[in-house]
Amino acid sequence: MDNREGLVKELVDHFREMREILRQEWIEQMTAKDLIASLTSDELNSESAIIYDTCVDCLETGDYQAAESYAKMLAERGVLRGMTTEQIIGGFLTLRDIYGRSLFERHQKDIKRLSMALDIYEPVANKILSIVALAFIEERENVVRQQEEAIRELSTPVLQYRDGSLILPIIGVLDTHRARQLTEQLLNSIRANRAKVVVMDITGVPAVDSKVANHLVQTVEASRLLGANVVVTGVSPQIAQTLVTLGIDLSRLNAVGDLQGGIEEADRLLGYKTVKYEQADKFISK
């Protein structure tokens, strides 16, 4: 055990002693491999020094917390600056190789000692790499999650079209979460606008399977309980055929071909009649 601790100290001292040489070599190699991205040479100097020292500290103390928080910060900034994963991971792999090479050079006459040194060095290097990689993946996942949230915010407006009538254009994929949100939004709007008719347009829904159809049927039923009639429009021929083959009972749905037809139907249900103004032609420039 003593032996091991002694060797760790020896390695740490070695890396500290070689700091400038190895660090410069690292920068050179990264530049040659085009891994630098948009860092200025000042930034490159300070960042490479921090990374170099953090790695040696990890080796010395066996404590990776500093590395973890630094990697996290690096990930946040890297993604913001548009650095690629390849540049970051590639940079660390290069550093790992440089550390490793310097150990080979140092202990090349004593294979036994070299293998002991590698036994100590390799797990630390691997651990640091996995910390960096994980920080990156986590950061990417965060971005994806935020984007998902943003898309949900955008989705499904409920539009008032006339007193007592609403239009609900559904665009994109309906998953369970969105269907639930949509139902809730529609029901609230029905109550707030005292709506009697809702035109639900699904032209923009790419696929309807039994679960999505079930969501739609349930939304229609719930709307009915609030006193609103739902007219479904925009069912494509392909979707119509598929739904019938699947065996979904849509007899409770009031469906009309397209949005225009749906609005006409809504007007009819509300007792409105659209009449063309006789002199309308005058206002349309030809």
Partner: protein, 140 residues
């Protein structure tokens, strides 16, 4: 041209992905728009079952050829709880979850061939095939 695609199914978003991939793959054989919708819907139903009942599994989609006929084979497999009574599960309107109970029987109607193999406690594999109708060649 890759004629086999595997999609791991765990989250609901994977259903959409599997559906798109299946559609792309089937489009290579020149299926019509309605047939593509039918195939995509079948994939959707099978993937949905995996998410709802098994938690995770795989959808494997493959272009196949038999006796000069081309088609797409879709295999949905999971290591979920399995189906104790397949005959019951194949009935319209039967569901242990809160669904319409049309997933399996509906998928069978959508596709040309349907095979289900399930062992309680081990998992379920559903294999379906849609054949491409051969074009009729008129000779003049």
């Amino acid at each position: 041209m890759a004629d086999e695609v595997t999609v791991n199914i765990r989250l609901e978003s994977a259903i959409v992905y599997a559906r798109q991939k299946g559609r792309e793959l089937a489009a290579e054989l020149g299926f019509s728009q309605s047939e593509l919708t039918i195939i995509a819907t079948a994939i959707s139903e099978l993937a949905r079952n995996i998410v709802d009942y098994a938690g995770n599994g795989q959808i494997i989609m493959q272009l196949i050829e038999k006796d000069g006929q081309k088609g797409i084979m879709i295999k949905a497999q999971d290591n979920g709880p399995g189906i104790p009574d397949i005959e019951l599960a194949m009935q319209d309107g039967y569901s242990t979850g809160n669904s319409l109970g049309l997933g399996l029987p509906g998928t069978k109607r959508l596709m040309d061939e349907f095979e289900i193999d399930s062992k309680v406690g081990q998992g379920t594999t559903v294999t379906v095939i849609k054949w491409k109708r051969n074009d009729i060649n008129f000779k003049i």
